[in-house]
């Protein structure tokens, strides 16, 4: 059906992978009680670290390791500020963003006056799995990074719910006093969480530079870090919710890439919007059947009607490219706004440093 073909799905998965990896790391960090707003800066660090390592060694594998090391360094800085120095976490994150941008831009201008480019990761079709219709092509005929992200996400899911470490991590984010009383090291777990988030963001950044396009440009992460952060919040600090959020953001990005080229907005986009909003409304209604109609629902119904009308009338609407570029962010904002009061609360100790004497 026109815009929403296999190529669209493939693009969505490719775009989603780095955001999902960074968001998964951030989820672990936030469940331990540390909100790392510096994700964008860390991803830039990872992107440049990967690019630099690859330029020196020529190996894309080592490049990713370089990205992870850069991410770990920034993560360690965040941990020192947030856990040891107990600085306001949001301020510390802002500092990391600025530093990440500045350092990578400076080093890039100094070390690579003329940009070098490398061959990005190639696609590898997994045996058997790639034969599955649609999904086989969309998910199992991707590059190694995408498979690695899937492994990491599944691993984090298991670790959070099925291990002693996961229990300790959730306890540290929720009630560090209780964790401390039970002998769980609040400091150790928070360090581990922040470093893990740094490593994930670093690898995701390396993918953005060497894995995807094979080159580094100033500020090339382009808001993916912020989207990952938004995905954690919209996902209600649950892995499942996070997957949905990343899918929405990445889908929007893939969509805008195709629509930039196509000129008029094709009718199936309006149908898709109609279906998406309708599903959202119905799910929300099912959850609280008796509650009165909310403003969000009225806006949603209007949106359904408008998109329905647009799908039927098929007017020639062109949207300028910059506005398409803003689409994922606008969608992320709308998603956060429409989410409203969520069932899942934030970890209670999120952004609050732990000092034992208060126990």
């Amino acid at each position: 059906m026109g815009v929403f073909d296999i190529a669209f799905l493939i693009a969505t998965v490719t775009i989603a992978a780095p955001i999902l990896l960074a968001a998964t790391g951030e989820l672990v960090s936030q469940r331990a009680g540390v909100m790392n707003v510096g994700l964008e800066g860390i991803m830039l660090g990872g992107a440049f670290g990967g690019y630099l390592t690859m330029a020196v060694t020529g190996s894309i594998g080592l490049g990713f390791i370089g990205g992870i090391v850069a991410g770990l360094l920034f993560g360690a800085l965040m941990a020192v500020l947030a856990i040891e120095a107990k600085v306001d976490q949001i301020v510390a994150g802002i500092a990391i963003n600025l530093l990440g941008f500045g350092v990578t831009a400076f080093l890039n201008a100094d070390l690579f006056p003329g940009a070098e480019s490398f061959t990005p990761l190639s696609r590898v079709a997994l045996p058997v799995l790639s034969q599955i219709p649609v999904l086989g092509e969309a998910i199992f005929t991707q590059n190694v990074f995408v498979y690695a992200v899937i492994v990491v996400v599944v691993g984090v899911g298991l670790a959070l719910n099925r291990t002693t470490w996961g229990i300790g991590l959730k306890a540290v984010g929720e009630n560090p006093v209780a964790a401390d009383a039970a002998g769980v090291s609040v400091r150790g777990i928070r360090w581990a969480g922040v470093l893990f988030a740094g490593a994930c963001a670093g690898a995701a950044g390396a993918y953005v530079s060497i894995g995807d396009v094979g080159v580094f440009r100033e500020a090339m992460v382009g808001g993916r870090g912020y989207l990952a952060l938004a995905a954690v919040l919209f996902g209600g600090w649950r892995l499942g919710g996070l997957l949905v959020a990343v899918a929405i953001f990445a889908g929007a990005d893939a969509l805008q890439l195709r629509l930039q080229a196509s000129g008029d907005v094709p009718p199936e986009v309006w149908v898709m919007a109609l279906v998406a909003v309708a599903v959202f409304l119905i799910v929300g209604r099912l959850r609280r059947r008796t509650a009165p109609v909310t403003t969000v629902e009225i806006i949603g119904i209007v949106a359904v009607l408008v998109s329905g009308a647009l799908a039927l009338l098929q007017p020639a609407i062109t949207v300028p490219a910059p506005l398409w570029l803003a689409l994922p962010y606008v969608l992320a904002l709308s998603a956060l706004a429409a989410g409203g009061r969520r069932r899942h609360r934030a970890p209670q100790a999120l952004t609050i440093p732990y000092t034992r004497s208060e126990a």
Binding site: L81, I94, A95, V103, D110, A230, A326, A337, G339, E358
Partner: protein, 372 residues
């Protein structure tokens, strides 16, 4: 007696910390410059010449400090109210866009009306963009830090579209607005060539002092500090922390919007183009952090940061040092300031525990970032 001595020591630390931070930053800068093969002495001379050495350069440094200070004041009032938003880049762009629109319509209006009108347009534009963040936070419970980050990205794209679309000047298809009418340009000190020293530098002391007075001597300022100090206690005592927070965010948006207008109408180029924001939004936050949230201290800090930017450009022109050196140093300054406050805190805490056994919550009580 003891308390008095402790107070004096704390004041000394307040003054010494920024100086120590600057010293470390200068050493780091020298090391970086040396690392890329430029003599630190030559770089230092070029830096001085490019920032304070000539009346024109000095004027440019002062004029460019104005938007930085305005953003810093916006950050100070929101943090005092316990709200942390970083939407300044977006608000600068929004304020600048509205001011551009108004300015382009003001061709036949005398300067005495046109200049305040562009400033007011900037304030309104910035406040309106901030209103989205404020509304999302107060009504929809979206964390202001996240919404403001996303809105920055949206603002960049919207402005990109505007100057290629509706706002594009007729000249040769460049992605920039038409040139502003002469009557709308903010007046500059006549003696200095090239409009280098704009009269808008009076905004610096005026706005900083007004903010100090507002925080200390008005009911709204009291509400701001109480809401930021302990939101629960403020609510229980009859203050509405939501209303206070919303107004604080709007005021900060107004400051940022005014900064946007200043960047355009007191800046080097009399038209709006891509990237006129030039990192002022985030650097303004760094200015406030360096000044440790003191509005008056922020004036000095803004001049320091402005000199880093102006000097960075001079270094690139003269010695081919990448101008992103300024960005590195600015990031390093924030990290150093954060670490140094901790150092001071630890010292203060130690002297405190020796006086009273009761643990004192030195970190402000902040509601957990509970709601999305």
């Amino acid at each position: 007696m003891n308390a008095l001595r402790g107070r004096g020591r704390a004041d000394l630390a307040r003054i010494l910390t920024p100086i120590a931070v600057l010293a470390v930053t200068i050493v780091a800068a020298a090391a970086l410059v040396l690392a890329i093969g430029v003599s630190p002495a030559a770089a230092g001379a070029a830096f001085w010449q490019g920032t304070f050495g000539t009346p024109v350069n000095f004027g440019t440094t002062l004029t460019q400090a104005v938007p930085l200070l305005l953003v810093a004041l916006g950050w100070i009032i929101t943090t005092k109210a316990g709200r942390l938003h970083v939407g300044f880049p977006g608000q600068i762009i929004a304020g600048g866009t509205v001011a551009t629109t108004v300015g382009l319509l003001c061709g036949d209006v005398p300067p005495i009306v046109a200049v305040p009108l562009t400033a007011l347009a900037g304030i309104v534009g910035g406040a309106l963009w901030a209103a989205i963040t404020a509304w999302l936070w107060a009504v929809r419970g979206v964390l202001e830090i996240v919404s403001s980050l996303l809105l920055n990205l949206v603002a960049v794209q919207v402005a990109t579209w505007l100057i290629r679309g509706p706002l594009r000047g007729s000249l040769d298809g460049q992605p920039q607005s038409a040139t502003f009418p002469m009557s709308t340009l903010w007046p500059a000190v006549p003696g200095i060539p090239g409009h280098a020293l704009s009269f808008d530098i009076v905004l610096m002391p005026v706005c900083a002092v007004l903010l100090v007075l507002m925080l200390a001597r008005t009911r709204f300022g009291f509400d701001v500090r109480a809401s930021g100090g302990n939101e629960t206690a403020a609510r229980w005592s009859g203050i509405d922390p939501k209303k206070t927070g919303v107004v604080a965010i709007l005021i900060s948006g107004g400051f940022a919007g005014l900064a946007g207008a200043a960047l355009l109408f007191a800046g080097s180029a009399p038209w709006m183009s891509d990237g006129f924001e030039a990192g002022v939004g985030f650097n303004g936050i760094a200015v406030a952090l360096l000044a440790r949230n003191s509005p008056v201290g922020a004036i000095l800090a803004a001049i320091v940061f402005s000199s880093l930017n102006v000097g960075g450009t001079a270094l690139q022109a003269k010695l081919d040092v990448p101008s992103s050196l300024a960005a590195v140093l600015q990031g390093a300054v924030i990290v150093l300031v954060l670490l140094s406050t901790v150092f001071v805190h630890v010292r203060a805490k130690r002297s405190l525990t020796s006086a009273t056994p009761a643990p004192v919550p030195t970190t402000p009580v902040r509601e957990p970032a509970g709601r999305v």
